[in-house]
């Protein structure tokens, strides 16, 4: 297997009600990634595209093929990846695999979503499709409800009074917004307070509005190349040194293990083992904070805290820049936004920027960051883990 690097990146603004189509959004991010790599569309050998709901949002299936044509990558093999919110991270992992194997040298990978075009009722319906449609949707499960049930389970299992847990969860959202203010691509550029979180509209008990990420439109893209090609294109290649992916079944089938998600533990172990690194080697992390409780659950399985103790990371400021493990200093899904088919590529974009030291001007650079971890969860069943390294 060859070493593989990310050589160029692109990222649109994440927002509500984008005036642009899903194709246009990914075309913009893709051209920035291609141009930034010193390449032309004709140099791209394959396209891997994360996209989840354009069928519902725009009446557009097979969007990857239209993106390929739109940006002048005529007739290249273009594949769509659907793993709910982890779609683009799946695409990155596959791009890595095909380049590492020697089959391709230069691949474009990204994702696009236009979820807000659906409106909240249809968006809620389609997001519920990432729960078991046969056995669990009849009970009215929604995506917030999945994590709401995990929050109550977390409170019970780790013996943290619910009121105390909710205060910790509010800190997660507050921190995300604080960094989102500094990120020009973020959907929300507004600070919030703990009191505002705790006063919010109840979505699915105990999760209130500001415990939840928004519906979003946006795209992100990356050019991935073999090491020898990468070294010719850039003096700052960011290497993909560990990858993992795992899946699991319906929520009830994960029974005894909950609120831990076994798939995450399987996936991140693959990535750690492959890179030869441990949690303490990670300088900066983008993890899947679709809901505030999801951040705690993720941080524990990624190895940053003992089970039931992740709240202390946020309480002690360890997740901030300067802390033990800066987490979601992009604003995360909560504040940066969560266009689900693009989210994984956006998380990778953020880590690439950190490892290249490009975020000083935005006031959110983790000084000297050399190794980053990306964690993305799709529905209750797909996890992808990526470890990126500056050398």
């Amino acid at each position: 297997m060859r070493r593989v690097a990310i050589v160029g990146t692109g990222h649109t603004k994440f927002m509500f009600n984008s005036p642009k189509s899903g194709v246009e959004l990914l075309a913009e991010a893709s051209m920035d990634a291609i141009n930034g790599s010193g390449l032309k569309p004709k140099d791209i050998q394959a396209i891997y595209c994360g996209n989840v709901l354009s069928d519902f949002a725009e009446g557009q299936g097979m969007i990857q093929s239209y993106v390929a044509d739109d940006i002048g990558c005529f007739n290249v093999p273009a594949s769509r990846f659907e793993g709910a919110c982890a779609s683009a991270t799946m695409a990155v992992r596959d791009a890595y695999t095909w380049v590492a194997s020697g089959f391709y040298d230069i691949v474009l990978v990204g994702g696009t979503e236009k979820a807000t075009a659906m409106g909240t009722p249809l968006a809620t319906r389609t997001f519920a499709m990432f729960s078991d449609g046969r056995y669990e949707y009849p009970s009215g499960i929604t995506f917030p409800a999945v994590f709401a049930m995990l929050a109550h389970l977390y409170s019970k299992k780790y013996n943290i009074p619910l009121e105390k847990l909710k205060e910790i969860l509010a800190l997660v959202s507050v921190q995300s917004h604080e960094y989102g203010v500094k990120n020009p691509n973020a959907q929300f550029q507004k600070e919030i307070t703990t009191e505002q979180v705790l006063r919010g509209f109840m979505v699915s008990s105990p999760l209130q509005l500001l415990d939840c990420c928004p519906f979003s439109d946006g795209a992100a893209a990356l050019v991935v190349a073999s090491e020898d090609v990468a070294k010719k294109l850039t003096d700052k290649p960011i290497y993909i040194t560990g990858v993992g992916q795992a899946s699991s079944g319906k929520l009830s089938a994960q029974y005894k293990y909950l609120p831990r998600l076994r798939a995450r533990e399987v996936s991140v172990k693959q990535a750690y083992d492959m890179s030869g690194l441990k949690p303490e080697d990670i300088d900066v992390c983008e993890l899947h904070d679709c809901f505030s409780i999801a951040s705690l659950i993720a941080a524990e399985s990624l190895g940053f805290a003992e089970f039931g103790k992740a709240g202390e990371l946020w309480e002690k400021g360890e997740t901030r820049i300067g802390g033990k493990i800066p987490i979601n200093v992009s604003g995360g899904l909560k504040s940066k936004g969560h266009p689900i088919g693009a989210t994984g590529a956006s998380q990778v974009y953020e880590i690439v920027c950190q490892l290249r030291g490009e975020l000083v001007d935005q006031g959110r650079q983790v000084e000297g960051a050399k190794v980053g971890l990306v964690d993305t969860l799709g529905g209750d069943g797909v996890i992808v883990s990526l470890i990126l390294s500056a050398d």
Partner: protein, 136 residues
């Protein structure tokens, strides 16, 4: 390999308040809702059995936001119930005010009933949801 207990058969039984599961003849685990293989050992020597429909609430939420076409149902309480036979099952909880439930629900003993979900344009027909009520 033929599916031992299909969604359709499982649902028809649930409509009569009969909860079916699969008993693994290899490891003894009860898998419910049904699958092709045993939830624990992946064995395929499975036997259809009727379960008690009794269990304890493992976790819950009250949803105040519903999907397209189901807005009239909100607020409603969803529970994951640990059945006496070990498997967990998702359903709704009745006989309560959904807007007032709290952590005291966890551990409460419940028994199974059912309600038909008529389905929507994405659901390939109707579904049947377990409807739990207090047994203690």
């Amino acid at each position: 390999m033929e599916y031992k207990l299909t969604y359709q058969t499982y649902n028809e039984a649930l409509k009569k308040d009969k909860l079916l599961g699969l008993k693994c003849n290899n490891c003894g685990t009860i898998t419910c809702p049904p699958k092709m293989t045993c939830q624990e050992c992946t064995g395929t020597d499975l036997e259809v059995v009727e379960l008690s429909g009794k269990g304890e609430i493992a976790t819950f939420t009250t949803s105040f936001v519903a999907s397209l076409g189901r807005e009239g149902e909100a607020p409603y309480t969803i529970v994951l119930v640990e059945l006496e036979e070990g498997a967990w099952l998702m359903g709704n909880l009745i006989d309560i005010d959904p807007s007032k439930v709290g952590m005291e629900l966890i551990g409460r003993k419940v028994k199974l009933g059912h309600k038909v979900y008529p389905g929507d344009m994405y659901s390939a027909g109707e579904g049947v949801r377990p409807l739990f009520s207090f047994a203690d």
